[in-house]
Subunit: 366 residues, 2 copies
């Protein structure tokens, strides 16, 4: 195998591929990139949950295939001068990486043992802009559960109905839902996609609203195709929770509040929380004022924020992290916060129902 690439182009491909490199594994081969050179130069990675293939522009002098430690390879390419890079391998999987007058010899591996991605039958593509997909993932994926014992909660629901796309996650304490309109209508479909794969995908997608992603679904897989890259993830089997029964439109009190002021205030209050301490942030809602209060072993904090209120007084406590997580992803300058009473979930949502965040309260009865 022998190829010639521009350093930055190769590095861009590497940075995409690294997202599907395992951090720990008992299978050393999945710590490798496969560089697979036939009619194009393909960089392949697969951590067994998801796989990435990305095509790197470059000149093919001799086809071939080699597996090479991904992080080591990335470090070497990163440190090379900004120049043309030549990668050459011999029958023994010795790789020579040269750039200018600099030359590395490192030991690669045969790609025989590597779990190449399965061939996916490409049916009708669902099309969505990279920008939108990135945004709706970022705005929901933070509330998937990290607990692998409940597989379904580690994934996000992606549901399509006509031209409506809904993406949602929940972890038993909170629910995040984001809805957008697609450019055309599709057959109804509903799948559960691992949160980790979506998180990595959102990091690769560009912010360009002009660029699209094509999404393909099979019984077992979801495939995202964009630019020179495909990302393939397994689906999580099972039936997702019925969100409609969990979300109510009833409320007793609605407040409108400046998002950044509220976020800054809860961030400050959270300084009082020492590791593993579980203390609520308490909202004491008056007619024109939200008094925010935190009491921990380190001290107390309180702060008043201006609000516009409809409804009656409420005192309610939340896990401060859950409220901060939402405030960090919502774009709006002012948010509406809906509450029933101190025992019922609080809900941050916009008027058009494009986003809904539901958070269970913490009991502060005593």
């Amino acid at each position: 195998m022998k190829i010639v690439c521009n350093k930055q182009v190769l590095l861009d491909g590497i940075n995409i591929g690294l997202k599907a490199i395992a951090s720990k594994t008992t299978m050393p081969i999945i710590l490798c990139f496969v560089i697979d050179v036939k009619d194009n130069i393909k960089l392949i990675s697969n951590n067994m949950e998801m796989g990435i293939e990305t095509i790197v522009d470059g000149q093919i002098i001799e086809p071939g295939t080699i597996a090479i430690d991904a992080r080591f390879f990335a470090e070497i390419i990163k440190k090379m001068p900004d120049d043309i890079i030549t990668i050459e391998t011999d029958y023994d999987f010795k790789a020579t990486i040269s750039c200018g007058k600099s030359k590395f010899n490192i030991i690669g591996k045969s790609a025989e043992e590597f779990p190449f991605l399965p061939k996916i039958e490409k049916n009708d593509a669902i099309t969505i802009s990279q920008f939108s997909l990135k945004e709706i993932i970022t705005q929901t994926v933070f509330s998937v559960s990290p607990d692998e014992n409940n597989k379904i909660m580690t994934g996000e629901l992606i549901e399509i109905n006509d031209d409506n796309l809904k993406i949602a996650s929940l972890d038993g304490h909170r629910i995040s839902i984001r809805k957008i309109k697609l450019l055309k209508s599709y057959e109804p479909v509903s799948v559960i996609v691992p949160g980790k794969a979506l998180m990595e995908l959102s990091r690769i997608l560009s912010d360009d609203i002009e660029k699209n992603v094509s999404v393909y679904l099979t019984n077992k897989h979801i495939l995202f195709e964009f630019d020179n890259t495909i990302l393939l993830s397994r689906l999580i089997e099972g039936k997702y929770y019925n969100l409609d029964v969990m979300i109510s439109n009833d409320y007793e009190t609605r407040i409108t509040i400046n998002k950044n002021e509220l976020l800054g205030c809860i961030e400050r209050a959270s300084l009082l929380i020492r590791e593993n301490e579980k203390k609520p942030i308490v909202f004491n809602i008056g007619a024109e004022n939200l008094e925010i209060k935190m009491i921990t072993n380190s001290g107390t904090m309180n702060e008043d924020l201006s609000i516009v209120r409809e409804g009656s007084d409420v005192v309610i406590g939340f896990n401060p992290k859950f409220i901060m997580d939402v405030l960090r992803v919502v774009d709006d300058e002012y948010i509406d916060f809906y509450m029933m009473d101190y025992k019922s979930p609080g809900c941050i949502k916009d008027k058009d129902g494009n986003y809904i965040y539901l958070v269970l309260p913490i009991n502060i009865a005593n």
Copy 2:
């Protein structure tokens, strides 16, 4: 005690004071700032090796003194809105920190147990610009020894003779020496200052060549006074090594080489070194070419760099870190590297003797 300060002014003072806060200790009181308010607002910290007093501009409403956990206090102030901050304490050492509508109550301590800095008799000051002092510390302090068993090597020599200031450090493998001219002449003096104190000092000093530091010496202490701050450090007792007998002006070969090219090349080569592996970077010096080579268990790297040479061929190996350390602090675009043979130290120095870096080679005989 009650004071009112601008947030940013207070935070600047805190960031200076934090440099003398211990990271671990059996004496909880030295994890605190003392805020000492009499005719000014003084922030005091002391990790028992060095102490800092910095004056924070602000309004004094009621004098008093309190000790307060330094890192916690710093976090709270950092997260406050950019506004006026009021700090008020009561007889019980409860501190109330308020800013806008935000109010923290935290528990402080009496400052009784705090090791206040000793009063230093201020004799003749040695004057040097902050910029120069910062520079010569940065350019030498990296080669103090971290080994506390040899106390003298953990310090830097500061030696004054007439209007010459010399600062030097060594760790048994290398020596760094920097010399500058002072604006006037002083009585000869020679002290050993802990490297850690100098490192923290260099982080506080400004880059402003117009601003000066006054340096005061006693038998046991060195005091740096600048802006609103004093930094006091103990001296290390003992006699420093005789550097003159260690440095020779003889050489067999001198090469002139682009500093950044050499640095980039050694950084790349160092990627091949796995944790704790000790491998030399080998310089193979030809007539117009320096071939750089690294061989480790991960692979090999070699690269050719253009040089101007005087003298004969040399093959010599170095600890790559030691060469990189020097190259990262030297300002010149091209450096001169002097060598005798593969067993004798290499020396990087400028023509005027403003800096001298001597590095012992690694034996690569086999």
